[in-house]
Symmetry: D2
Subunit: 359 residues, 4 copies
């Protein structure tokens, strides 16, 4: 039983391999009568696309979207929305040197073992190019969230050992898109960019952390006991390539705290229930409590590097993988819109799911 | 659309409130002809039950299981298995003092907001007592895993600031059940127990970390791109009460590493493909690669403390929550079997899901 | 992947074998704050129960319901509702004579082949006793339907060759419960009862047809293209034991008609859109159009008869199945509440599903 | 919660409106390493396509398939398969005359009411053109069924009042494709064709019955109690446009039979368990028993006719719908491959589902 769908009511199914015909998505369950702003979808895709700056891969992908169904005269009509991006700038021969070799820490070996067949073309389905489909669907989810004044904002908060000291409340989140690393603090951003450039020169890669905040979430989203809002967010984020850790609210720091310190005290602020602190990260008992939802995501250094590495081939022989081609020294800047997309998908799905909680 | 089911093929649905008639589970999709060892189920429940030691709550719950369906002459027959535990030692009056008050960092407020009705009886559905159902189902999952020689082993690796220095390979995991805190290193365990006792005396609570390892997982489990094995594990773990963080393999430490350091190099060990390091944590591209799966889970300090706290009531009035009743100063020791149970459920479900990957 | 759940948002999971501990149901997705009228549930169960009249089996089942979860102070609280009925009047020894034999046209052989294990106790899971769970859940669904003024009414319209000539509009449906065969026309009912008594004397069984009507369905229920309202009704009804045929609106008679005769002409009746005829049976394009939904269900004669029959045993030997025990000569009267229950479940589920069709 | 997906493990999602960009399907869960015979898919599509003979619509649709994903070098690779057919020969202006009118017995009114928006282009999503996607997926399902030597064969057994007298065992099913109405008895076929031609001249339409047989189904398919094989077939078939009735095995005729006549007696035929009769239609207790599965499907006369009809418009005004355009006087011949496709999808899904029934 395969796993290419996500969401229950606002349900997406993605398809496509990095070097096949197309990458695409079907969204089933998008409410009708929604105005679809194509420019916004393109803008989101541009935040994800390779070749957007000197710290990303130089590979160019001209991601033109084609709407196959579900939108008529600019509006959703209640039928499944299918949108694709044709694959163009693929250089299949870039991958001939690894057609029978398993690249370290890639999915080559596990896919081959699971399916008994090798799609050696640049990672195939395991390629991060699949996230085009997520960003498209996430853009539509964000269009729905606008109706609720909910915003999902992510940014890079750490690259290697260069970490933002301030939390999201102390930062000007309007600054995120003002630099190519998508860190809202320009001073820190400059250091991060420098680090990535050095890593790129070495032909190596580096990891980091993305922080994401969801503002203005209504109280009541999340479906205990398994589809807790935090559980669905964790799954959504962990379905993104290269993610190794996820923490919400106080996260791993909560370990050091006592209950008397960690408990978020309720108070009445002009008939709105609020909490004085927000260690819970906006979710209690798996259900949103109206406070900001915020979480942090750890990304490992990407596996593709421009250095020679030992490995094995499909027959188990020891081989050397040459370091060539184009690659991202650090995926974090391009992963920002992907984290936002997955988050938006979860929130929209839970808004729709919550419609039947009361009689 | 509610969320009380988990798993796709091996699918459990749990039900019951902490002070209602029963806590129970229905398991649909358990293969037939499996010998069910009731003593093993009881043993697992005993690891979870309150009152098991001086560092857990003194509340006694005599968790007797009753099999309602699905098992005939000690074997599964392919029909849904339903097992319940009747609630007995509930003292409804213990909760009268909070029947109209929202306890800080509990689910009282969010449940009330979502459903428009208050079940004030000790957390109701949000109570960790619901995990009885998970441990029962997890025990049956473990019985299936035995057929594949897969074992799931969790232990407490940190309480407050007392952390195990050694990783799971350096420890004797047979020691876990030898002390009441379920830490395999007795020296560290002693410190942890002392810390918890002190916290208990203060009427406070403390968080910690559980490490979990899955040994002998076959290559090929996990369903890209959304139902990656790590994504389903993340969701499973985050569906447990009080979890604030999850990291797999190198986790948050991966952030500091370069690709050339982090990549796990393949080699051929007598025709078995292995990796020299295992920063991937046994999963690549969302699919198990045959190495050990290991992850760490951060638990916050539990919200119930024996101190007075400010809060609000159902009408928005500011009130004081008295600190009384029985509580766990630290949930970690009792959470060990719960983490194992959720992990076992994920692995079994993916074993069954993987049966149709190839023709 | 097992199939013991039904519905997407209002989702039921049933469990229990006819001679196991209990028959039960978990309802996940029932909105909160619903008043649950236990007497109504019992009344519905009494319509289903054996031994209710001289034309049903003389087997007595005292179906006492026990609420395990989900209801507090008479109201739903948004958590899963679990209700069971303990099995009492089972005479396991009634089935010893067939413990290794496959009864003709029963599920003995197929269950044994599928699961590799024999639960010979009276049909086990395949027994119609499982429908207790459906009637309980259906009663709760009907309580929801009352809020929408929707009513689901079924009746026996044919037994053997004795058929009601009139359609549902020509009958007084208040008469249905006035006779033991549940046919609203007393004259026809008398003939049906006589026929069934004769069949019972012969130790044989007989089939028949149930007609079901749903009044006051709002426009818009049904989810194209696969979860059409008629498709989900067809599945719901065909999941009932002994059903061999289902037709909606004009049904098999439509075959003889021309489009110009069959098309239902729209007209405006004081700003309500209606159709002059209703061959569509209230559903067009898979979506309800506001007209009455009506359909007919064919039930085969039940397989249990009091005559000797040839068959085979578990080893493939030819054997004789003795005709003994208690049985229903005709299931139709008791199937009326089951047809209504399954129908109510479908309608409620689609009401909840339809909540997210528009923005 | 929308309904554009079908199947649990072999799961298809279809998309596309009749006059949008494309009609397409995503198949998730197709096993890897399957050889995909494109010519076979095209051949199946040709059996469905309009304009194939003088008794179908003269509308031409040149259905060229385009593979977007999931197939590499002619083989499935375990990733989702997406295939589309671009819409070409649409004449949007053919539909201007009804852009604000509701055609009788079409889905115009119900879609508009449900979604609050009008896609007037030839039925939009409700058009039978959507079944292109089903036939493509069904062709792939049939390729899998070949591995099990299972065949699914449907034919036209009645048009209006012209009915085949013989049952499927008395017919030469190799004859089905030898005439344009797809009836295996040439004499009856001739009469059917004549009837349809006359109906076409009148500008009217006519209904009929399709019989479908599945040969060589293994014992054990079907998942009680709700996903019985017959229940899933009923749903699959009722999801096809214009279906009004479905009966399996003895169907509505069973009503007239006694249990002693209807019971299928088991016997041992060289260590294969068989039944002497097959009134059960190959399914007992919802599980296949190894006998042929056969069922009959009633189709109403299609709603599009070339006659003037009264109706209403979007504002509720009474209007006249002109009879113009191209249409099918009878859908039965083209529906044969659609019935087969839906049946094949159900069988394949249940083969995969059955893989985890035993340990």
């Amino acid at each position: 039983m395969s796993g290419n769908s996500f969401g229950k009511i606002f349900r997406i199914t993605t398809f496509g391999e990095s070097h096949g015909n197309s990458i695409g998505v079907v969204i089933d369950g998008c409410p009708s009568n929604l105005d679809i702003d194509l420019d916004f979808i393109k803008k989101e895709l541009n935040r994800r696309k390779p070749g957007q700056s000197e710290i990303t891969t130089s590979r160019k992908e001209d991601d033109e979207i084609e709407i196959l169904s579900g939108i008529f005269n600019g509006k959703t009509i209640g039928t499944p929305i299918s949108i694709i991006v044709k694959n163009k700038d693929f250089r299949e021969k870039d991958y001939y040197h690894i057609y029978d070799k398993f690249r370290p820490s890639h999915a080559d070996y596990t896919y081959y073992s699971k399916y008994g067949i090798r799609d050696y073309r640049g990672g195939g389905r395991a390629s991060a190019r699949e996230t085009i489909a997520r960003v498209i669907a996430g853009a539509i989810a964000k269009i729905i969230l606008r109706k609720y004044n909910i915003s999902v904002i992510a940014y890079v908060s750490q690259i290697g050992d260069i970490a933002l000291e301030k939390n999201y409340k102390e930062l000007d989140l309007n600054n995120i898109e003002s630099n190519i690393v998508r860190c809202p603090d320009n001073e820190t951003a400059t250091k991060m960019i420098e680090l990535i450039k050095n890593i790129k020169k070495e032909g190596d890669s580096i990891g980091g952390i993305i922080t994401c905040v969801v503002f203005n979430v209504p109280v009541g989203l999340g479906e205990p006991v398994f589809d807790k809002l935090n559980a669905d967010l964790a799954k959504a984020i962990f379905s993104i390539n290269a993610v190794k850790g996820f923490e919400i609210g106080s996260g791993f720091n909560s370990v050091y705290m006592k209950g008397s310190e960690h408990n978020d005290i309720f108070y009445n602020d002009n008939n709105i229930i609020k909490t004085k602190t927000n260690y819970s990260g906006g979710i209690q008992g798996g259900i949103s409590n109206g406070e900001d939802i915020y979480f942090r995501v750890a990304f490992k250094p990407v596996a593709t590097i421009l250095k020679e590495q030992n490995s094995i081939d499909i027959k188990g022989n020891e081989v050397i993988i040459e370091g060539k081609g184009r690659h991202d020294p650090c995926v974090l800047p391009r992963a920002v819109p992907i984290v936002e997309a997955m988050t938006a998908l979860v929130i929209v799905d839970h808004i729709l799911r919550n419609k039947s909680s009361k009689i």
